[in-house]
Symmetry: C2
């Protein structure tokens, strides 16, 4: 049963769902700072990601509180993992290219990747870098081109830049204009979101 | 007199200065939160802005403290303004297009603007919007395309996305490969930065 919902809100939910991208995603690798996590979820919602993956093995998922900046978490599906092999196998079976952020010699700049194909980007803790077991199992590495004296970006800023590049490539390829979900999936999701 | 500086650091300073962009800039319009201001300066440094303009009329420039995240402020020139007409006249005389962030009917998406020409983007407080006197005098308005349930981005995230779009357009146009400064300017700036 659908609770009370205004026609405007229902239209908004339908419009947002019709542009949700289900085959690009981020993996949040032990990012613990609640401000950064909130900002990342807000950017995921803004740039139309349907789902994020949470890989928390050495850090805890933070308490995001009830601030308005945390409200985006309602609109982004979250899938928890603790087994790296299981997570990466899942991506591989679904034909998803997996890329991690990093700075090694073989890393390629963000814009060199094709984000119109199914993709998961592993976003790691800015100080500690990617979890060693993920470094071992994921060869593809991306960096955000920078040209400053301070060679790093805040992790939520890095996430937004990656999402914007994904989004821009998909916009140019016309992928945002065709719903990623079937009419039945859209109907089910609309019902579910209306109750949130 | 140049103080002690390692050859590596000198090379780094020269490399960074040779890619600094002097004809694109941000105007920070009363952005008061120190975390956001630090993150914005860090992104300005990372994406190669030589200078930012500070327009603080209703809010104070925040104390950024001594945290490492604030260290980028050393490498981005800051110009203070309190007279809007004087600031905007200065841009106009220098042939700089001025754009503000906003959401009105006539706003255009970020990617619709040409950032290869001299540009200043006025970045405003995310809650209060642009200062009224700037709204009145600046017609061009840009928005970051979003497709989520929560229709806003953190202001430091918005800044990074704008800077990344500027940077990407300039990279594609080959503008990053030619120094914006003359050899004499580069020599003077190298000396100045070596003493910081």
């Amino acid at each position: 049963m659908r609770g009370f919902i205004t026609p405007e809100r229902l239209e908004r939910i339908k419009a947002v769902l019709s542009r949700r991208q289900k085959d690009v995603t981020l993996v949040m690798d032990n990012i613990w700072d609640p401000h950064n996590v909130s900002a990342i979820l807000r950017s995921c919602d803004a740039f139309g990601l349907h789902r994020v993956h949470l890989y928390y093995t050495t850090e805890k998922w933070p308490d995001l509180g009830k601030k308005s900046s945390a409200s985006a978490k309602k609109w982004v599906e979250r899938v928890r993992h603790d087994d790296p092999a299981e997570m990466l196998d899942g991506f591989q079976k679904a034909g998803v290219q997996v890329i991690r952020t990093g700075f090694s010699e073989t890393a390629k700049p963000l814009h060199a990747f094709d984000f119109t194909i199914p993709t998961a980007v592993i976003l790691s803790n800015e100080h500690r870098g990617a979890a060693p077991e993920l470094v071992e199992q994921v060869a593809e590495e991306l960096y955000i081109p920078m040209q400053g004296m301070v060679q790093s970006l805040n992790v939520s800023v890095a996430a937004a830049v990656i999402l914007y590049e994904m989004f821009s490539q998909r916009r140019r390829a016309g992928l945002l204009d065709t719903p990623a979900f079937s009419p039945e999936e859209l109907e089910a999701l609309t019902q579910e979101w209306s109750d949130r």
